[in-house]
Amino acid sequence: MADLSSDPARLNLIRYRDDKPVDHGAVTVDAFLDQSNASAVRIEPGDDARELIPHLERLALVEVNFPAFGDGRGYSSAQILREAGYEGELRAVGDVLVDQVAYMRRCGFDAFDPDSALDADDLEAALNRWPEVYQKAADGRTPIWSKRHA
């Protein structure tokens, strides 16, 4: 099993999971659909996350790439996979900024591998920012409407 903390390419990896990380690289969606043994896949912004839904049981890691932080398609990809019942690791990779991680967590991401390391204090502050949430989302937090009418 690879020790990710010693992998120079994985220095910025942050995980909010207890299981062991997948020890091999992720393949493209096309490659994943072509071959049957990969358990890690990388979704690009233009990919249709729903194509993975028939194969969720053999996936342990889905990386969602953010080539530019302003491209928000990956948020929907994450939300769709969680709605479909995916429980494996969902990792945001690429141009992932600390001011985005709170919303990403809400959409079901439980790991981050940003191009630039996130400041630990800023990350802590960002994840503790929202005392409540208005929307139902993949993180399962109880939305305000449910609390008001509990």
Binding site: F69, G70, G72, S76, E83, E132, Y134, W145, K147, H149
Partner: protein
């Protein structure tokens, strides 16, 4: 009026602290401008032509006197004593300092206000009918639905990095006073077999490619309205174009896919989302509705008005609108004095309007998309006292929906996107018509001016529209005719070659004269244009 509970307050307070932290990191250099820009925009902070500009949300255009006072205080404390009311029912301050911005947001939060999502590629402030709750023609007050959508869209985790900005309007009347079909999503609350539901129009907009939104669903049950909106947004977030900023609005997606195919994609998404139903939507809607119940209108309020003062009588005729309660009207405060800056109000004027709302309109004000202010519930018996106070403060212009009631974007005087100035053109036109005395004869004539193709001044939807362009470094103005933002929605067409600043004022008068010559009984400018077409106007303009 909707009032925050501890949840709403906690969210807005958290947002202030988030932005305070982000601004600090920007000032310390931990964030680049490229990284900071979308964060400040999602808090309404632009870097404009002269300084930072802050756009404060006025949800569905409704505010109370305490909030209007707070807006006036901000104008004095942090800006230069005035504010600009916008075509999306918000207010903008033009001279804001980044180092003050978080304090301003904190001041706003104290009166249950914010600048959340007033810019950026996210769901913007929800707009609505400025006569909501007062109009005789609505099936219900649309604002509870707008408030539901406000909460749902605030800090939406999935839809905060959309391809482009996203604007939603909600109305509940066949008379459209919110330019509903020129929004990314226009929702009309309708009644069917005794049930209320939401009719969805998607893919309208102005900008460089104006489109009228097609209806994609006639009736969505109320408990599904938010989920259906979520489906509309998800299809857009996934499939909207991101390769070209100018083709990234949902109107382009709907146009390129075709309304039917887009609607089918939404239906498919909606079906999937209904497997994960939202909790407590109807309960929440009921709770929100209680905030918008009618105020205690006086029974048998007198319905006679002493019209012996002709100036007052004119103002009553022009600036008051029928109300659902006998003995009441909605009164429009014009922010369009002849020769003035459309939509600007000084802090003193804001305070006066706030106090008058408290005295005469159950503590409520509305911002119109036409950049005026409404006191929605005024007793006819109070109108004279109200008008007297307004007139003394320069707020008594009797020109609602006339050629003097011009919508104008800030233009090149304030905006870094603009190609030409809008305000001086508006000033000269209102002066020209006021001096010629033709305003009254022209009746309803909606004139809208934008200083660039982005169309913040709604020029596509003007009976007469003006678009400022840059012609080799010189301001030039194109004339458009025949637009409407109302239920008879249409897009204006360009008459021909543009004009210089003096020339465009002449051209508007020439077009007005064609109407006066050609009109038949009861026709508005727009009706005559639609009947006779462009040619008579072209001949008069270009001969």
């Amino acid at each position: 009026m909707y009032l925050y509970d501890q949840y709403d307050q906690a969210m807005v307070d958290a947002r202030v602290e988030e932005f305070r932290d982000q601004a600090r990191r920007r000032l310390e250099g931990k964030l680049t401008e490229d990284q900071f820009k979308p964060l400040r925009l999602m808090n309404g902070l632009y870097l404009q032509l002269h300084a930072y500009m802050l756009r404060v949300a006025i949800p569905y255009g409704t505010l109370n006197s305490r909030q209007m006072h707070a807006l006036a205080d901000i104008a004095d404390k942090y800006d230069r004593g005035y504010g600009h009311f916008t075509t999306r029912q918000n207010i903008q301050y033009n001279w804001i300092k980044l180092e003050d911005a978080a304090d301003i947001l904190a001041d706003l939060a104290k009166v249950e206000m914010h600048a959340i999502q007033t810019s950026g590629n996210c769901i913007r402030n929800i707009s609505s009918d400025h006569f909501a709750g007062a109009a005789a023609d609505e099936v219900t007050d649309p604002r509870p639905y707008a408030e539901l959508l406000r909460q749902w869209s605030s800090f939406h985790p999935e839809f905060s990095y959309l391809p482009r900005k996203f604007k939603i309007a909600v109305i509940a009347s066949d008379h459209d006073r919110a330019a509903m079909r020129l929004h990314d999503i226009g929702i009309q609350i309708v009644e069917r077999d005794g049930e209320l539901g939401a009719k969805f129009y998607v893919g309208g907009g102005m900008g460089r490619t104006p489109m009228i939104a097609p209806c994609i669903r006639e009736f969505v049950p109320l408990d599904q309205m938010v989920t259906y909106a979520e489906a509309c947004l998800r299809v857009y977030n996934r499939q909207g174009r991101r390769d070209n900023k100018y083709k990234a609005r949902i109107k382009i997606l709907v146009h390129e896919m075709g309304a039917e195919e887009y609607a089918a994609a939404v239906e498919k998404e909606y079906e999937k989302l209904t497997e994960h139903p939202l909790d407590r939507v109807l309960e929440e809607l009921e709770r929100v509705r209680t905030f918008f119940e009618d105020p205690l209108f006086e029974q048998n309020a007198p319905e006679t008005i002493d019209r012996s003062d002709p100036d007052f009588a004119l103002w009553v005729d022009r600036n008051t609108v029928a109300h659902k309660a006998p003995g009441y009207v909605s009164a429009v405060i014009s922010l369009k004095p002849v020769g003035g800056i459309p939509g600007d109000a000084t802090s003193e004027q804001m305070r006066l309007m706030a106090d008058l709302a408290k005295d005469y309109s159950f503590d409520e004000l509305r911002v119109m998309h036409t950049q005026n202010i409404v006191l929605p519930h005024v007793r006819m018996a109070d109108l004279h006292a109200l008008w007297t106070a307004l007139d003394e403060a320069g707020l008594g212009s009797p020109n609602l929906d006339t050629v003097e009631d011009i919508i104008a974007c800030p233009g090149l005087d304030y905006c870094s996107l603009a190609n030409a100035r809008s305000i001086p053109v508006a000033q000269k036109i209102s002066q020209r018509f006021a001096a010629s005395g033709k305003t009254e004869a022209l009746g309803q004539l909606k004139l809208k001016i934008s200083g660039c193709i982005n169309a913040c001044g709604h020029h596509h939807a003007g009976h007469v529209g003006i678009l400022g362009v840059d012609r080799k470094g010189v301001e030039n103005y194109q004339l458009l005719l025949g637009g409407s933002e109302a239920e008879d929605v249409s897009l204006a067409k360009i008459t021909g070659p543009g004009f210089d600043e003096e020339g465009i004022v002449d051209a508007v008068e020439t077009a007005a004269d064609v109407y006066l010559r050609e009109r038949q009984d009861g026709e508005r400018f727009l009706d005559t244009y639609r009947r006779i077409g462009m040619n008579p106007f072209k001949e008069a303009l270009y001969g």
